[in-house]
Structure formats: structure tokens, C-alpha cells
């Protein structure tokens, strides 16, 4: 009999979700679907408020990457207001953004994924978590905690709070950095570098254990989208949009942020509440599941699309990372996201080191004043999990008339579904279904480090997917609504 396996709740991801794996009569996997089960509605309830409130409100979309939302929002507000943001304010924004990458990627790697990588994908679920990791390897557990803490502490030092600071504003930021804080950051950097190096070495030494995972955990051709600097370098805060295909051809070299809707469109499926973003010029296809415009965002996409990293240690790792692509082409297996995240921690630490040695970093001119000078503002950031878009429309008095948010995790929706289907087909077809096999499918989601708090709180991409089953639990045709 056809069968559906439900995995719920999906754990060690940042949000709420369920997975359904569909098997046919012979026990072969037909499909796997990723269901996300809540929404809040920021795009609607923000309409009618004043635009300077937006950084404070939209960072509450997500407690894991509040800095990304705060800064994307502030950048959209900068455009509405007009005057140039002071140089030191830009640098301070970059500083806490690099600090956020450090904490968020450390959380994804050590707290959420390392239990699978180090303790085993099919190890005992009772201890397969960060606590189990601390108990199994207290020294590594402590280092992991301290690396995440370093990122959070920088955010707290600069802004006053590690989560939801009232700090970035249209035109700048509210507080500056003190020389004593620079000394503390400098003193703690060497340990952060060491921990990142230990993790990188561990992963590289153990890569051969994961050959099958590399082949089956989301290895497929796709487009890659993200920001790069104007001359093509790795960029997280402010750059141009680049699109690359699976063969490494550049389809968009450097598109201005405010033109993002020219390249990204969203589709709707009758069986899903979740919209499916795709690259507009290549289209959504004919609905047979093969989407020509399917793209991925996030750490792998960023490392694929950039021409260079721009810092020495990250540059060395980037060259090594590129060897993972076949025949000199982009890296296509999502399993390599773990490696990509560690490289980006290294990059962030190197950038933090540069910024705290910058002669202007303690300047006190950190905010420009202005009124309403533009009626539309777009702010695009690279959040740790991928490209994040905030677009606001206001009237002449600064009251919001429209809000459009496309968050990183929404961008990866098509790719996440494709990844878990690939894992389920590889490991579950014809097999006795065990808890460990289900965990492998969940790991496919963890690779994208999905920030479901983010994606579920923007009404525009209410991420819910519906598969309809009959009373026996069999999959009913998805056109049932007709």
C-alpha cells in the first residue's frame, strides 16, 4: 500500500516545519514535501506606520538574524531619506553584520549540524544534540559556545543588546564604538580564529566519510544568486546582484538592487500556500516539476558567484572549496554548505580584524538627518542564509503604503524540496524506515539553515505547503481543489 511518512516537528532548524515523504506500493520514494506551518503578516500590519519604525519592527521577524533585517530595513529607509550615511556608520553596520555571520554560522555548524556530523546521522536521537556534543567532547563544545558568544558579544558591545537592539536608523546608527571595546575585540580575535581553524581542519580531514552525502544531499544543477562588490568580490552588506548558472556562466553581472523585481518572480502551486520564487528570464517551466529558473542563495551561492574573497585566509579556503566543483564548474552539492559557512566565518573574522584597526572606526559622526525624499526604498542584504530583500513605498509624509519582503529562506524553497526528495530517494526507497533515515532527510533541510521565523512572518510568501491525503493516508491527486 502507498504510504506517507511524517517527520514532525523537524528539529534543529530555526523554525517550525513538518516533512512528508510519499512512498508508492513498492516502497519506492515518489516525493518529499517540506511543510511550514505558521505565518504572522508583517507586510500587511506595517502599512500605515511611519518608515523610521521599520528597522525596529522588522528585526522582530527573526531573533537569529535580527541584524540582517534591521540593516536591510535601514538601507531601504536610507534611500527614502536621501542623505549619505556617514562612513563610520557604514563601517559599524558592517562590523555587527560580520559579528552576526560569526554567531549565526557558528550556531548552524556547531549547535545544529555538528551533532549529525560528529556523533553520526543515525546516532541515538536522545543525545544527538548540542548537549550530547558538549558531553562527548567538552573542549570542542566550550570552543563552539565561545565562538558564537564572540559574535553575540560584539553585537551587544556596539548596540547595547545581542538580540533586537534599537540601533540602526534611517541615515545611520545610534551609538558609536569606544576604544576600550576595540581592545576587547582585538584580544578575543585570536581564539575565534583558532576555533574556526579547528572546525575547518576537522571537516576537511573527515570529508571522505561523507562521500555518499555529498552525492545525495542536494546535488543538482541550479542557478546561484547573491550580492558581489562592484568589482566582483565576496560581499555581505551592500553590493550588486549577480546571477550565475550551473556551468559558471554569468547571466547577470551586477544588477542594481532596486531592479530586483526584474529578475525574480514568484509562482503559486495549487497544492501549496508557499510561493515559489524563480529567476524570471528563464521562467518556471510547464509545471512538471522541472523549473528552469530554480536558483539557490546562501553560502554556497555566494562562494560560487564571487570572483575572489578579498581576505587572505578566506581566499586560500575559497580556492580549495572551488575544487569541489566538477570540471571547474560551480559547486552544486548542498552538503558543501557546511564548509562554505566555515569559510564565511573566517572571512567575517578577517573583516572584523580590519574594521577594528580602521582609523575612523571610533568617529562620532554616525547619523545623517533627512525627511522624505524618495517614495520608494529598496534595501538588499546578504543574510547568513541568503539574499534578503526589503522594499518600502511611502507617501509624502513618510507613512508606509506598501511593504514587500522576500527573505532568504523563501528563495531556497524550490531547492529545499528538491534536496529532501533526493535524500529520501537515495536512502528510503525499499528500506526499512528508521528514525536515523528520517534524520537524514531533516539534515537536508538543515543544510539550508532555514530561518523559518523569517519566512513565515512575511505574508507575501506565506510558506505553507499542502499535500492532500485520503483517509488511509494515501496521497490524493493535488488537483483535488478543483
Amino acid at each position: 500500500m502507498a504510504q506517507t511518512i511524517h517527520i514532525e516537528p523537524v528539529t534543529r532548524i530555526e523554525g517550525h516545519a513538518k516533512i512528508a515523504v510519499h512512498l508508492d506500493d513498492a516502497g519506492q520514494v515518489i516525493d518529499a514535501k517540506f511543510h511550514v506551518v505558521e505565518f504572522r503578516g508583517f507586510e500587511k500590519f506595517c502599512v500605515g506606520r511611519t518608515f523610521p519604525e521599520m528597522p525596529g519592527i522588522t528585526m522582530r521577524i527573526c531573533g537569529i538574524c535580527p541584524v540582517s533585517h534591521m540593516l536591510a530595513s535601514a538601507k531601504a529607509c536610507d534611500v527614502i531619506q536621501g542623505p549619505r550615511v556617514p562612513v563610520t556608520a557604514q563601517k559599524l553596520r558592517r562590523l555587527i553584520n560580520h559579528a552576526q555571520y560569526t554567531q549565526s554560522h557558528a550556531l548552524s555548524f556547531f549547535h545544529l549540524s555538528a551533532p549529525d556530523l560528529i556523533l553520526g546521522m543515525e546516532s541515538d536521537p536522545a543525545t544527538r544534540n548540542v548537549i550530547g556534543l558538549i558531553l562527548a567532547n567538552p573542549e570542542l563544545g566550550r570552543k563552539a559556545i565561545r565562538l558564537r558568544q564572540f559574535g553575540q558579544d560584539i553585537i551587544r558591545m556596539v548596540t547595547g543588546k545581542s538580540v533586537h537592539p534599537a540601533w540602526a536608523t534611517p541615515g545611520g546608527v545610534r551609538t558609536c564604538l569606544l576604544p576600550s571595546q576595540i581592545d576587547e575585540i582585538k584580544a578575543r580575535l585570536p581564539e575565534a580564529f583558532d576555533t574556526t581553524e579547528i572546525a575547518l581542519n576537522w571537516l576537511k580531514d573527515n570529508y571522505s566519510k561523507f562521500d555518499r552525502e555529498v552525492e545525495t544531499y542536494g546535488d543538482f544543477p541550479s542557478l546561484f544568486i547573491g550580492l558581489v562588490t562592484p568589482d566582483g568580490g565576496l560581499e555581505h552588506y551592500d553590493g550588486l546582484l549577480r546571477v550565475m548558472d550551473a556551468d559558471g556562466r554569468i547571466l547577470e553581472k551586477g544588477l542594481a538592487n532596486d531592479r530586483w523585481t526584474e529578475i525574480i518572480a514568484e509562482a503559486v502551486e495549487p497544492w501549496s500556500y508557499l510561493k515559489f520564487p524563480y529567476y524570471k528570464p528563464l521562467g518556471y517551466g510547464n509545471g512538471n516539476g522541472n523549473v528552469p529558473g530554480l536558483y539557490r542563495v546562501g553560502p554556497i551561492a555566494r562562494l560560487n558567484i564571487c570572483d575572489y574573497a578579498g581576505t587572505p585566509r578566506a581566499e586560500r579556503e575559497l580556492r580549495n572549496f572551488r575544487r569541489l566543483g566538477k570540471d571547474g564548474k560551480p559547486v552544486t552539492s548542498s552538503f558543501h554548505a557546511h564548509y562554505a559557512r566555515l569559510i564565511e566565518i573566517m572571512f567575517s573574522l578577517e573583516r572584523i580584524q580590519e574594521l577594528v584597526n580602521d582609523v575612523n572606526i571610533c568617529d562620532t559622526h554616525i547619523r545623517s538627518q533627512g525627511g522624505v525624499n524618495e517614495l520608494r526604498g529598496v534595501g538588499v542584504m546578504e543574510a547568513p542564509r541568503g539574499t534578503l530583500f526589503h522594499e518600502y513605498h511611502v507617501d509624502e509624509t513618510g507613512i508606509l503604503t506598501g511593504v514587500n519582503l522576500l527573505v532568504a529562506t523563501g528563495n531556497n524553497n524550490l531547492a529545499m524540496n528538491k534536496t529532501i526528495t533526493q535524500i529520501a530517494k537515495a536512502y528510503m526507497s525499499g528500506a526499512k524506515i528508521t528514525e536515523g533515515l528520517c534524520n537524514r532527510v531533516e539534515h537536508g533541510i538543515r543544510l539550508y539553515d532555514p530561518c523559518l521565523s523569517c519566512s513565515t512572518h512575511a505574508v507575501g510568501q506565506m510558506p505553507m505547503q499542502i499535500q492532500v491525503f485520503d483517509a488511509e493516508g494515501k496521497l490524493v491527486d493535488s488537483k483535488v481543489r478543483d
Binding site: 511524517h6 517527520i7 514532525e8 516537528p9 528539529t11 534543529r12 512528508a20 511543510h35 506551518v37 505558521e38 504572522r40 503578516g41 507586510e43 500587511k44 500590519f45 522582530r60 521577524i61 527573526c62 531573533g63 537569529i64 550556531l107 536521537p125 536522545a126 544527538r128 544534540n129 548540542v130 548537549i131 558538549i134 558531553l135 567538552p138 563544545g141 566550550r142 559556545i145 565561545r146 558564537r148 558568544q149 553575540q152 543588546k161 545581542s162 538580540v163 533586537h164 518572480a265 514568484e266 509562482a267 503559486v268 495549487p270 497544492w271 501549496s272 500556500y273 510561493k275 534524520n439 505574508v459 507575501g460 506565506m462 499542502i466 499535500q467 492532500v468 491525503f469 483535488v480 481543489r481
Partner: protein
């Protein structure tokens, strides 16, 4: 309130919120290592136990009640937990998720799809897997009795640490005034 190994059984749960309170819990940093010496985390988004266990001593609930799953889970948590803590402003007041309360849910949903690329998907609630979105977001204590309130957006780690210490000593959780504000 302990298990055989003399540890307090702690659960942490995540309703309609942003995960920021859980991040603040992780901001206990190295004190987490002390915590795992005294406490068994028996259920949490950061662990792999899928079913809420029996005989939990303390449950921290982050987030507001936003959908039908939250109501069902809250009732189960109440039955199985000795102490329930509303963890953070969304749990205590509804906070940011309740900002949608003046709007009509059905209107929002139909607007999103009429402005968007295609027709609205099937009605929610058609399946067990999809919870129904509630017309009004409410704080936890409107659904189940709550024993302790830990405000803050998020509650900072010092506040969480203070509450945990009082609980472990078996003393009433009365926080100093400066730890009782919102935001």
C-alpha cells in the same frame, strides 16, 4: 522535582515568535555547560525528541498563541508540566505577532494572492497537517494557566539566569524590579 539522576527536567517550546528568546537562552554561553550539569533538557527545538514527554518539571514557552496547533500543544504542555513559564514578551502579552489582530485574517490571505501571481491555494485546515490560523493572536495565559512570567524582547540572559537559579533552589521566582520590564 527531579529525575533519578537528580536533575530537573526542563523543556523549551517555541510558538509564534521569532526565536529571539531561545537565542537569549543560548546567550547564557558557558553557563550552559553548568546548566546541563543540573538540568536534563528533555524537549527543545535544539534537540531531536519529537514528542512532548511526561513529568516535565519546568517548561519555557516562547511566542504567542497564533494557530490551532499552539492551543493543542499548550494544553498538552500544561498537563505534563509542573511549572509553565511565559518566556518573553510575545508569550506574556502577544507583542509583535498580535500586531495583526486589527486585520481580518481571511482578508489578508485573499489580498496576498489577488496581488500575487495566481489563485489562492485550498482552504487552510483541510488537513491535519495544516493548523488553522487564529483570528486573534493571544498570550499564553489566555489558553492555559501560567505560573511564572519572564518579560523582555527578548529577556536578557541575566534575567533568564536569575530565574533558573531561583527555580533550582526551589525558591519563588520573584525577579528584582529592573528585570520586570518589557522590550
Amino acid at each position: 522535582m527531579t529525575t533519578q539522576n537528580n536533575k530537573v527536567r526542563l523543556a523549551t517550546v517555541w510558538f509564534g515568535g521569532c526565536a529571539g528568546c531561545h537565542m537569549s537562552f543560548l546567550d547564557l554561553d558557558e553557563r550552559l555547560i553548568d546548566v546541563v550539569g543540573l538540568v536534563d533538557i528533555v524537549y527543545s527545538p535544539v534537540a531531536d525528541i519529537k514528542k512532548f514527554p511526561e513529568n516535565v518539571d519546568v517548561t519555557l514557552i516562547e511566542g504567542a498563541v497564533c494557530n490551532s496547533d499552539h492551543i493543542k500543544e499548550a494544553k498538552e504542555i500544561r498537563e505534563k508540566s509542573k511549572v509553565v513559564i511565559s518566556f518573553g514578551d510575545c508569550a506574556v502579552t502577544g507583542n509583535v505577532p498580535s500586531m495583526r489582530n486589527p486585520l481580518n485574517v481571511d482578508t489578508i490571505i485573499s489580498e496576498v494572492y489577488s496581488e500575487g501571481p495566481g489563485p489562492a491555494p485550498p482552504d487552510q485546515g483541510i488537513l491535519d497537517i495544516m493548523p488553522v490560523i487564529l483570528p486573534q493572536v493571544v498570550p499564553i495565559h489566555q489558553v492555559i494557566p501560567v505560573d511564572i512570567y519572564l518579560p523582555g524582547c527578548p529577556p536578557d540572559p541575566e534575567r533568564i539566569w536569575a530565574a533558573i537559579n531561583l527555580l533550582l533552589k526551589g525558591e519563588p521566582v520573584v525577579l528584582p524590579v529592573e528585570m520586570r520590564n518589557f522590550g
